[in-house]
């Protein structure tokens, strides 16, 4: 059933990871399919990390960073934002639906946004079903 879906989440330490923490502390419910990997900034995420996650069995990959203007390292999320477009274009080539790859700006106080985003993403992936690479 859909609870086998694997979501890899790459969350920046300063904002989205805090948002997930806030959601957790407040005991907000969301589907438990996400495996969170904490990174220092969305700007340090290489496209190849996304590709590797899919290659090794992720059905969806989520990236969370600070809102534009709030990056702890000034411009990391701008870099990520530009890179994400290339990632989308490349995923399309490999037959991976672009809906399986999502990114969102979530601050440390936005536990509720984190919860909502996870629920939405889980719903999207449930519709798409597990990813089958060639």
């Amino acid at each position: 059933m859909s609870d086998d879906l694997k979501i890899v989440g790459l969350l920046c330490n300063w904002c989205c990871y805090g948002g997930a923490d806030t959601a957790g502390t407040a005991r907000m419910q969301y589907s438990p399919n996400i495996r969170i990997i904490r990174v220092m900034c969305s700007g340090r995420i290489n496209p190849s990390m996304i590709f590797k996650a899919f290659q090794e069995g992720a059905d969806g990959v989520f990236v969370g960073g600070c809102h534009i203007g709030d990056c702890h390292y000034d411009a990391g999320n701008y870099k990520w934002s530009r890179r994400s477009k290339i990632v989308e274009d490349i995923l399309e080539e490999f037959g991976i639906e672009k809906e399986r790859f999502r990114h969102e700006w979530i601050s440390a106080s936005e536990g509720e946004k984190f919860q909502r985003t996870m629920e939405e993403f889980h719903k999207t992936l449930t519709k798409l079903g597990p990813l089958e690479l060639e």
Partner: protein, 379 residues
């Protein structure tokens, strides 16, 4: 920007040159005046299918390099960055060579002050292997008897030792899977306008080279070579300029038509499962310059799980690092031992990047923030 017709004042060069021998004369001028340490040009080896770049420091040796070699799809950008970074050099560039050099200048791998780029218009190159095969199949001649070849008015023309010629329409050759390399069939940059000058036969009278002067350095080259007594020039007629621009536009239109063909995605192509991860496509790519620091050298890519490599992991790295700068030179197709049409997807991704940003690799003046710059802009 201005136009001249040019012709060598040196009879040997005029004889050996493809058109007016202007390119060889300008290279000789640069060497003789000591303006460069050396010149990179192509020299044919055993036959017409086999020419490769040589570094010439004595202008006497330039004669061997004159002429156009259509079956020699070489790449100069990589050589210059690897071996001539500290030298003052002049070299000939097809548009894809020029584009690679421009991308490498952007990456501080080549210093513009150290180089002279002598551009050659380019209608396309033929791979040496398929060149031989197609002559065997479509011409009466034996490929070994061909002493020279040229591309003119849509035909691939061969000349035999006895002086006889044979021509076949390129369109017909390409319909059968021969003719110009696939990347050349899609290439819509026909005149290298980032080179100091762009030389060609379009718009030229017999025995002359048509030159578009692109910048001040290009003008200095022409003026200098004239002053040295090795080059004469005259103005082309308006009709010649117009005719040239017409042919250019026809060629671009043809290329766009080929681009509009729908190419399969990687996941739809069977060829990719043949990859043996030999790294040849990376090593030959002029834009891939990280060498020993390449992400693909990480032990993870040598895991058993990655042999044969999973395309999304292996080519995904290169695609995400440089596809936006792919100059569609086709070198990766040429070297792939498994005959995978590698450039197809890199070129496709550069065109997607163009749709997002308007950036044409090695051609656009406005350098959009590269993916890793700290610019505060989104796409």
């Amino acid at each position: 920007m201005s136009y001249v017709l040019a012709k060598s004042q040196n009879n040997e060069i005029l004889e050996a040159g493809e058109c007016g021998g202007a390119v060889t004369s300008i290279l000789k001028y640069l060497l003789d005046e000591g303006l460069v340490d050396g010149v990179l040009a192509l020299s044919p080896q055993d036959d017409v299918y086999d020419a490769f770049p040589v570094f010439v420091t004595d202008s006497e040796d330039l004669l061997k390099t004159a002429g156009s070699y259509h079956c020699a799809p070489t790449m100069i950008g990589d050589l210059v960055q690897k071996y001539f970074i500290d030298k003052k050099v002049a070299f000939t560039v097809k548009p894809c060579d020029m584009r690679a050099v421009e991308e490498l200048i952007t990456r501080h791998k080549i210093n513009r002050d150290n180089i002279y780029m002598i551009g050659l218009n380019c209608g396309g190159t033929v791979s040496p292997v398929s060149g031989r095969k197609m002559i065997d199949l479509f011409y009466e001649a034996n490929p070994d008897d061909v002493v020279s070849e040229e591309i003119d008015k849509g035909q691939f023309i061969i000349e035999l030792a006895d002086g006889s010629e044979e021509a076949v329409k390129i369109h017909d050759l390409e319909n059968e899977g021969y003719g110009r390399r696939n990347n050349c069939q899609r290439c819509d940059v026909k005149i290298p306008r980032k080179a100091n000058i762009a030389c060609g036969n379009w718009g030229a009278e017999d025995g002359w080279t048509f030159i578009e002067i692109n910048d001040e350095k290009g003008q200095e080259l022409i003026d200098g070579a004239k002053k040295a007594g090795i080059l004469e020039t005259k103005s082309p007629s308006d009709a010649a300029v117009e005719g040239r621009s017409k042919v250019e536009n026809i060629m671009i239109k043809m290329a766009k038509k080929n681009q509009d063909a729908t190419y399969p995605t990687v996941s739809e192509m069977t060829e990719w499962s043949r990859c043996i991860s030999c790294y040849a496509c990376r090593d030959v790519c002029p834009i891939c310059w990280c060498f020993e620091n390449c992400e693909l050298n990480k032990p993870y890519f040598k895991d058993e799980a990655n042999i044969p490599p999973v395309p999304i992991a292996f080519q995904g790295v290169r695609l995400s690092h440089m596809s936006f700068s792919c100059v569609d030179c086709g070198q990766c197709d040429d070297v792939c031992p498994m005959d995978i049409p590698v450039s197809l997807i890199f070129d496709k991704l550069q065109k997607k990047y163009y749709d997002r940003t308007g950036y044409v690799a090695g051609v656009s003046d406005d350098i959009k923030p590269p993916l890793y710059s700290p610019e505060k802009t989104e796409l």
